[in-house]
């Protein structure tokens, strides 16, 4: 099996200039653990829910709850983006993609053609595949 068979084609992506607040809302809307980040259609990184956690004000912040959202809306995604980027091609064997995701603790893996983002392989979709492969045939 190859990545192309289980990836989500044409995935949602974040523009590098979007805010962290927008990123959080987009992650929640699509129920994803990570989103690809693009600059003019080229993939430049992956924003993880954990990146948002790290950016979040601490438990001992003096910011009022109402102020936190505003603050996060003023920070651009590219400021918290990690420098290393993992991506695969559509013909990459699925086992290799899984190995990469586990090694780098990635909730999703961008799929590219050249620099262009063409798909996203998500942990959730892989868990669906796992359940499918393990399910017993229906009782006669």
């Amino acid at each position: 099996m190859r990545v192309a068979e289980r990836m989500r084609p044409g995935p949602p992506a974040l523009d590098a200039g979007e805010s962290l607040g927008h990123a959080g809302r987009l992650l929640a809307r699509h129920r994803l653990g990570a989103l690809p980040v693009v600059r003019r259609h080229a993939l430049i990184g992956l924003l993880d829910a954990a990146d948002l956690d790290r950016a979040h004000p601490s438990a001992a912040t003096s910011l009022a709850i109402g102020e936190i959202a505003g603050r996060l809306d003023r920070v651009r995604v590219e400021r918290v983006l990690r420098p290393d980027l993992a991506a695969v091609g559509r013909r990459t064997p699925l086992v290799d993609a899984i190995r990469l995701m586990r090694a780098r603790h990635l909730a999703a893996l961008p799929v590219v053609e050249g620099e262009r983002l063409i798909g996203l392989l998500t942990e959730d979709d892989l868990l669906v595949l796992l359940a499918q492969l393990l399910d017993e045939p229906p009782a006669p």
């Binding site: 099996m1 962290l20 129920r31 829910a49 954990a50 990146d51 956690d53 790290r54 950016a55 979040h56 004000p57 601490s58 438990a59 001992a60 912040t61 003096s62 910011l63 603050r71 996060l72 920070v75 400021r79 918290v80 064997p93 699925l94 086992v95 899984i98 190995r99 995701m101 586990r102 603790h105 942990e123 959730d124 892989l126 868990l127 669906v128 595949l129 796992l130 359940a131 492969l133 393990l134 399910d135």
Partner: protein, 289 residues
């Protein structure tokens, strides 16, 4: 497959009063990202590294400046852990765990057996199972073929087929003849002279069959004899030899009451650790080959 097979080490846990700083150090030392939280021997929460990330100082300087640093140093596990975490019994099927991980949007489950925390199963562990299921066999694919032979008609064709496939793939072949279990009485009394002769005769028969089938091919065939429930013995041997394919002849048999007996091949498919090739008896179809 049950999640208990994924538990590879004793549970590493923490307590609600542990300082966050120490909990994170524990995670880093052991290379884990999820800690069940135990109080009075019972599971009271789950601490994820992300919970600690969220509670600690922001990575963005202009947000971090608003922190009171002192209280951060005093934060303990109970302040940030997830309460009432999903706990799964060790007998939970892996497929069920995969479904729950998606539905409940969790990264890890505590595995609990009668109030005792046996360990943690993470999404990464589930992906490892998937990896194992997808792992392609070795490039040649076929390393060993187990041919189940018998004295029934059609068995030689099965052996021939096994040799043909193995020859094309450069695989090794073992011809296995399983003698249905001898009467229980004889087994209890230990091998009698009669049993030994029976087995020896079968061994020679298998060797003859293999030689006949292999005639003209430069192939080495190991011949073996086993006793016991046929499908189970074949499956067992396939497991031991790490076979990639089992080849067996099919036949129609009528049971004592006249109904069709479930074919060996059907029974075997359910037990076999690798695919089964069921070869029909030579019939009109072969006439032209």
């Amino acid at each position: 497959m049950k999640i208990k097979t994924l538990l590879t080490r004793p549970a590493i846990t923490t307590g609600p009063a542990t300082r966050l700083h120490d909990a994170r150090a524990l995670m880093r030392r052991r290379g884990i990202r999820n800690l069940p939280v135990i109080e009075d021997g019972r599971l009271v929460g789950m601490l994820a590294e992300r919970d600690i990330d969220r509670a600690e100082t922001s990575s963005v300087p202009e947000i971090a400046t608003h922190d009171w640093l002192a209280p951060l140093a005093d934060l303990v596990v109970a302040d940030v852990m997830a309460r009432g975490p999903v706990a799964l019994h060790p007998e939970t099927p892996v497929a069920e765990a995969a479904r729950l991980a998606r539905e409940r949007r969790v990264d890890a489950f505590a595995v609990v057996d009668s109030d005792e925390v046996a360990g943690v199963v993470t999404r990464s562990d589930l992906l490892a199972v998937l990896s194992g299921l997808l792992e392609p066999g070795d490039p040649a694919g076929l390393g060993h073929v187990l041919a189940a032979t018998s004295l029934r008609p059609g068995a030689r064709r099965a052996l021939g087929e096994a040799l043909r496939i193995a020859g094309a793939a450069g695989a090794a072949v073992t011809a296995l003849h399983v003698l249905p279990a001898a009467r229980r009485v004889a087994a209890l009394e230990g091998a009698t002279g009669e049993d030994v002769v029976r087995v020896e005769r079968a061994r020679r028969r298998v060797a003859d069959e293999a030689t006949a089938a292999a005639a003209g091919r430069a192939q080495d065939v190991r011949c073996e004899v086993a006793e016991g429930p046929v499908a189970r013995e074949i499956a067992r041997r396939a497991e031991e030899l790490d076979s990639d394919l089992i080849v067996v002849g099919t036949e129609t048999r009528r049971g004592v009451l006249g109904g069709l007996v479930e074919a060996l091949a059907d029974r075997l498919v359910r037990l076999a650790p690798c695919p089964v090739l069921a070869v029909p008896r030579s019939g009109a179809r072969d006439a032209g080959r």
